[in-house]
Symmetry: C2
Subunit: 411 residues, 2 copies
C-alpha cells in the first residue's frame, strides 16, 4: 500500500484563521491506527446553528442515523469525529456506541446530548469500542484551542495522503465573516451524496434553516460533482456550523436574503475547493480529470452522460496510461442511455478537438492530443449536439495503485 | 501488457463437431495485428435462418447498423468478422466500409448483399480499410472447411487470452441436432446488451422467428448476466444461424413449440457456457465471482443490487486482494438505491455467513472467510430479507493487470 503523498496535492496549506466561538482538540484514542491522532473534537462556546447533508445509502452508518435525529433541533455544542472505524453495519452495537459516545461528549462539553454531533470513518462492520473515548473526550475539552484546523483535518484521515483544509472570507451586511472547512476522503467517493466527511464552520450569525438552504444549494456543484470510484459510502456527512460571533452582524434567518449573496458565493467556493481536494487525493490518483458535457437534451441528461464518462474504468485507465483514447469516451456516451446522435458528437481533450460529426477530426494530431494527456490536469469535453443541457463532473484516473490500496486496505 | 493465458481458462477445449451446411475459413488480412489471423468467414451452403441481438449503445458501430438492417430478412448466406478494428464511430467512412465489405463478401459467396452479416471488434474511431478484404474473401470462400471452429474463435480475439468455444447436442422431435458457438470478449463487457461478439450455429430446422424468440429468452441469464468492467461496448453482437440440414427434422416455426424444449435448454446452456468463458477471461481476471442476491423486493430490484455489487471497484479489488471485506458488499447494497433494510441484511462468502441481522455474524471466523477468498471461484450472496426477488450476476476481480492492459491497449 502506497503512503506517498498524491502528486496532485496542494503545494501548501492556507493559514487557517480561528473562528470565534469554537475550539478544536485532537487525540490518539487507539481506535485502529498506531502513532497518529484518530479523534477530533470541535467545541462551541454557545449553541451554534447547524446544517447537514448525509449519504443517500440505504445502509447508512450509526453516526449518520444519530446526526439526522439531532439535526432537527438545529443547534450544536460539540462535534466528535473518529477515524479507523466507520461504526457502519454494526447493528444494535452501533447505536449503543453512538449513545455512549454522545453521553461522554455531552459530559465533556457540559451540554445536552441533543447538541452533540458525531461522525466515524474507517472499516465497515467492525464494532466500535466507544469506551475508548471515556477519559479522552473530557481531557480534549479542557485542552481545545481555536487554531488547530490543520490538526483536525489530519485526525480524520484514512487512506487520504494529505489533510484537506480551506478558508474563505465574506461580508454580510457590511460585516466581515470567516468560513473554514475541512474534509477527508480518497476512496468510496461517488456522486449523489454529501461526501465522505466534511466540516465547515463560520462566525457568521445565520439561522440553522438559512444555513441548511445555502448548504443544500452548494452541494450539487461541489461534493455531489466528484467521483473517485463510483462507490457511495455508508458514512458520507457534511456538517456546517455558524457560531454567530461576528461582531455587530445581525442574525440572518432567510436563506434567500440578499445580504447572504457574498456569503453564499464564499461558502460554495469553499465547498468546491474541498471537493476538488478529495478528487486530487483519489486513491492512487495521478491525474485530475474534469469531464464537461455540453449540448445534451437537458442538464439532467448531461449529468448522466458526464458521470458515465467519469466512472468508466476504460476511460479512467486510458487517462492513467496517458492515452488519448477518445473511442472510449464515445463508448461511455453511448452506454449512458441518454439521447445521443453518434453523427453529431464532438469530443475534445483539453483544447484539442479529436472527434467531430461522428468521426475522427480531419485535423486530428496524435502528437497534440498526447501532449494534453501528459498534463497533470485534463479536461475531457463531449458536445452531444442536441440541445442546451450541460454538466461538469470531476474525477481522477484509475491506476494500479488504486487496486493495490484497496486490495490491502483492511488487512 | 500481459499476454499470459488467464488462470481461469478452461483446461481443454471441447472437440467441435461440424455443423452440416456451413463451412469456415480464417485469414490474416493485416487489419492491425502482425503474425496472426484477423478475419473469419462462415459460409452457409443454402440460406440459413438467422436471429440476432445487438448492443443497446446509443453510439453503435457501423456493422451493428448493417446487421440490424439485414436481420429483417431472416436469412443468411455469409458472415464476415474481423478483429483489430471495430469500425465504430467512423462516420460515413464506416458505412462505406461495411458496404464495400458486404459487396466483396456477396461476390465471394455468390449471394445477395442482404444475406451478408458483418461484425468488427478492436479499436474504436480508426477508419477500417475494407479494401484489404478484396482478394482475401474470395480465397477464403474457396478454402472454407466445416471443422475450423477453434480457428474461427482465435481469429476474432482482441485482448482475449484464449479462444472461446462451446458445443451442445439436443433432440427436436426425436431428431438429434448439434449447436456450436464461439465468442470473444475480455474488456468493455457489461450487462444490458448482447456481449462483445458471439456466433452460434445449428443444423436444426428452425425458422428465423422461432430462433429469435429462443435467443432473446436466453440472453438474460447468459450474456446479459455478465460484467467485467461495467463498460458497454459499441459493437456487441450475438448472431445465431440454423442451417436446417438435420436429416428428417421438420422445420419448426413457433418458438413456443414444445418440440423445441430440449433445444431451448441446450441453446441456453451453450449461451451461458460462452458468457462465463468471457468472464473467466475478463481483462486481468484472477478470480471468477458469482454474485447471488435473494430476498429482494422483486427480481428487478435483486438484479440492480447484484449489478451494484458486481460492478463495485471496491468489492472487486477486495476480491483481488483475497480480503473477505463484506463491509464493501454492504456499501454496494446501500448505494444500489433499491429498497433495503440494513438490519435484515445477511451476507455469505461461499458457504460462510459473515453478516446477519445488520451486523457481523456472531460465529464469524476470519480464518474460514479468508479460506474462501483464496479460491479461484467465489460466490458472494446477499439476502436482503424483504421479499422473494432474486438474481445472479457473474463477474471477475479488478487487478493491477486490468489497469496495465487498458493503459497500454491502443499504443
Amino acid at each position: 500500500m502506497t503512503t506517498a503523498i498524491s502528486p496532485l496535492a496542494p503545494k501548501s496549506y492556507p493559514p487557517m484563521p480561528p473562528i470565534d466561538g469554537l475550539r478544536i482538540a485532537t487525540a490518539a484514542a487507539g481506535i485502529k491506527y498506531k502513532g497518529r491522532t484518530d479523534v477530533m473534537m470541535m467545541i462551541f462556546d454557545d449553541q451554534a446553528s447547524v446544517a447537514g447533508l448525509f449519504t443517500k445509502s440505504k445502509c447508512p452508518s450509526a453516526p449518520v442515523d444519530f446526526c439526522r435525529a439531532n439535526l432537527a433541533g438545529g443547534k450544536a455544542r460539540v462535534l466528535v469525529v473518529n477515524s479507523g472505524n466507520a461504526n457502519a453495519f454494526t447493528g444494535k452495537k452501533g447505536a449503543e456506541a453512538t449513545a455512549l459516545t454522545a453521553r461522554t461528549a455531552a459530559e465533556a462539553a457540559d451540554c445536552a446530548e441533543s447538541d452533540v454531533f458525531l461522525a466515524s470513518t474507517g472499516v465497515i462492520g467492525e464494532p466500535l469500542d466507544a469506551s475508548k473515548f471515556a477519559g479522552v473526550l473530557s481531557t480534549m475539552a479542557g485542552e481545545a484551542k481555536p487554531d488547530l484546523w490543520l490538526e483536525a483535518a489530519k485526525a480524520i484521515m484514512t487512506t487520504d495522503t494529505y489533510p484537506k483544509v480551506a478558508t474563505r472570507g465574506a461580508e454580510i451586511d457590511g460585516v466581515s465573516v470567516t468560513l473554514n472547512g475541512i474534509a477527508k476522503g480518497a476512496g468510496m467517493i461517488a456522486p449523489d451524496m454529501a461526501t465522505m466527511l466534511s466540516f465547515i464552520a463560520t462566525d457568521a450569525a445565520i439561522s440553522a434553516e438559512a444555513l441548511q438552504q445555502l448548504l443544500s444549494e452548494g452541494v450539487g456543484a461541489s461534493f455531489n460533482a466528484v467521483t473517485v470510484d463510483s462507490d457511495t459510502s455508508t458514512s458520507d456527512t457534511v456538517l456546517a456550523f455558524a457560531t454567530g460571533r461576528a461582531p455587530g452582524q445581525d442574525m440572518v434567518t432567510d436563506g434567500s436574503d440578499p445580504r447572504l449573496d457574498d456569503f453564499r458565493a464564499a461558502l460554495h467556493a469553499l465547498m468546491q475547493d474541498l471537493a476538488l481536494q478529495i478528487v486530487r487525493d483519489g486513491e492512487g490518483a495521478r491525474k485530475m480529470v474534469t469531464v464537461r458535457v455540453t449540448g445534451a437534451e437537458s442538464n439532467r441528461a448531461a449529468d448522466v452522460i458526464a458521470r458515465s464518462i467519469a466512472n468508466s474504468p476504460l476511460v479512467k485507465t486510458a487517462v492513467a496510461g496517458e492515452d488519448a483514447n477518445w473511442g472510449r469516451v464515445v463508448m461511455a456516451v453511448g452506454k449512458a442511455g441518454e439521447k445521443a446522435d453518434r453523427d453529431r458528437l464532438a469530443i475534445w481533450f483539453g483544447d484539442i478537438r479529436v472527434a467531430v460529426n461522428g468521426e475522427r477530426d480531419p485535423d486530428y494530431s496524435e502528437e497534440f492530443a498526447s501532449a494534453v494527456m501528459r498534463e497533470d490536469e485534463i479536461t475531457i469535453r463531449a458536445d452531444i449536439g442536441l440541445g442546451e443541457g450541460q454538466a461538469t463532473i470531476y474525477t481522477c484516473d484509475l491506476t494500479k495503485e488504486y487496486v493495490a490500496i484497496n486490495g490491502d486496505y483492511r488487512s
